[in-house]
């Protein structure tokens, strides 16, 4: 099997699993209890919090564990809206956010009277800072722009966005689910007030994430109950998950340079071969300002789900922006936002690598892709029409 869907989820690293195991069976105490068993669990949570905070240059007490990236996004946006709505009702985000952000904003529009601006992006998926500047009104209370896009891998100009937000005194949240542990992030330098992340994207366990909340940001609890997480997120801590997250974050930070350099080599090799050897294909996303492991290409005249099934039959796991993988008729909102026509967006393929992949695997993927794309095109009425037009 060749696994090329690391943006969907990653394999939990063996070290991470090992670090977690004692917290299921031996150190199972509730961190809120007083006896030693519980205190050992509590200090493991504290350690993990510190390890995670240091990756983004944050204070440990500003890291709040959640059940994942989606909860962190929901919390940041809904609670910030509630806390600051007396100052205004305007939120600025982009058209290419993850649904955890988009649907949360839509919810606030429908039920809470929020006004939301969804910024356009350029053909590579980049937000234009001047557009952001122009969208700001006296009513703007929150800017939520993702650090890096999950589909096309484009890394947004976060430091510049942070600077603009700070100049206008507006809260800035970033969904960094794809970026945390993949690219350097410094919350102070980048003026990030809130940041969402998820463990399972960086070889950590599923079901655990965090929201970074800068000291002074006035958002309140979103899950009510006990006094955990400095009274801001109730519920007994997911101790094994938190320990696993801490371990994964530390590992990701330590290996970032070497690991991502290898991923970039593989990525650019794969992109290069595909663009050179397969006709009528385009790269989606910025060629340079992109996540180290992201490849997103559109093959003209073919449909993504067929491509995915055929890749699966060859043992290659990837994903697509095709509507047919999601059960709706419209292809990915991200691909439409960068201006792709529907039929091109339907033929897109996302392959997200890991440092465990090899050049030999990339070669095999290219060979299989050539065969599959040719087979699907030979069946495609769009290709037939195109070739007939060419002959004329």
């Amino acid at each position: 099997m060749i696994y090329l869907d690391n943006a969907a989820t990653t394999k939990t690293a063996p070290q991470v699993v090992e670090a977690m195991l004692p917290y299921f069976s031996e150190i199972y105490g509730n961190p809120s209890s007083v006896y030693e068993l519980a205190q050992n669990a509590k200090s493991a949570v504290t350690q993990a919090r510190e390890d995670i905070a240091s990756v983004i240059g944050a204070r440990a007490q500003d890291i709040y564990f959640t059940a994942g990236g989606t909860e962190a996004d929901n919390w940041a946006i809904k609670a910030a809206y509630e806390a600051y709505k007396s100052k205004g009702n305007h939120i600025i985000t982009t058209k290419i956010e993850h649904h955890a952000v988009l649907h949360t904003c839509e919810y606030l529009e429908k039920t809470q009277g929020a006004k939301v601006t969804y910024l356009d992006v350029d053909e590579n998926g980049l937000v234009r800072p001047e557009d952001l500047e122009a969208a700001i009104t006296p009513e703007t209370i929150l800017i939520s722009i993702m650090f890096a896009n999950n589909e096309i891998g484009t890394i947004e100009p976060i430091a510049e966005i942070g600077r603009i937000a700070k100049e206008h005194g507006i809260l800035f949240h970033t969904d960094a689910v794809q970026a945390f542990g993949q690219v350097p992030i410094q919350v102070d330098e980048m003026n990030i007030d809130m940041l969402s992340s998820s463990a399972h994207k960086i070889n950590g366990p599923k079901g655990i994430g965090f929201l970074y909340i800068r000291k002074g940001v006035k958002i309140r609890s979103f899950i009510h109950g006990g006094a955990q997480e400095r009274k801001r997120r109730a519920g007994t801590e997911n101790v094994p998950g938190i320990v696993g997250y801490g371990c994964a974050a530390k590992l990701a930070a330590e290996t970032m340079q070497e690991r991502t350099a290898k991923e970039i080599d593989l990525r650019d090799y794969l992109i290069g071969r595909i663009l050179k050897e397969i006709p009528y294909v385009r790269l989606n996303g910025d060629p340079k300002r992109r996540l180290p492991n992201n490849v997103n290409v559109s093959f003209q005249f073919i449909e993504g789900e067929s491509l995915l099934i055929m890749l699966d039959m060859e043992g290659i796991c990837a994903s697509s922006g095709s509507a047919c993988t999601s059960g709706s008729l419209d292809p990915s909102h991200v691909l439409l936002a960068i201006g792709l026509p529907h039929e091109i967006a339907h033929g897109s393929l996302r392959m997200t690598l890991s440092a465990e992949n090899t050049k030999e695997e990339m070669d095999l993927v290219v060979e299989k892709l050539k065969e599959i794309v040719e087979k699907l095109r030979s069946m495609s009425p769009l290709y037939e029409d195109f070739m007939k037009k060419q002959k004329k």
Binding site: Q300, I309, C324, L329, P341, D385, F386
Partner: protein, 147 residues
């Protein structure tokens, strides 16, 4: 998510291709929704469908339903071919996931569109055949972009 029959027809689609000077050709669906089916019919003087071929741009279910539809109409009379409904196609494939039912509707429509084309070309009227809605030649043709 797909039955074995769907997977079989997707992996080994029957009757893929074109028929030169076909008696009738129908193209349905649109690229916007991600499914386009083109059906070619070769109908002899006795009104028997001697051959049927297809080309499809679409998901696994779209390919499988087109393939099954060609199998179901091959060797049939025009009237029998009209009885090949989306339900018949789905049943022959041991079912489809709910979100893919529209693919079987498209397959039924593709047969109707090809028969309609045949009827128009030969100046005949086929009892029970109504003009298919989504023949893409009815709409404006989208310019293909090249990369």
């Amino acid at each position: 998510m797909y039955s074995e029959k769907v997977m079989d027809h997707f992996q080994h689609p029957r009757n893929v291709g074109e028929i030169e000077n076909a008696s009738g050709v129908g193209t349905v669906g649109n690229a916007k929704c991600g499914d386009i089916m083109r059906m070619y019919l070769d109908i002899n003087d006795n009104g028997i469908i001697q051959d049927c071929k297809f080309k499809t741009f679409g998901c696994g279910a779209a390919v499988a339903t087109s393939s099954m539809a060609t199998e179901l109409v091959k060797g049939k009379t025009i009237q029998e071919a009209l009885q090949v409904t989306n339900k018949a196609v789905m049943e022959a494939l041991d079912g489809l996931p709910p979100v893919k039912v529209h693919c079987s509707l498209l397959a039924e429509e593709a047969i109707h569109a090809a028969l309609w084309d045949y009827a128009e070309k030969h100046g005949i009227k086929i009892e029970g055949l109504v003009k298919p809605k989504s023949d893409i030649h009815e709409g404006e043709e989208e310019e293909e972009e090249e990369y």
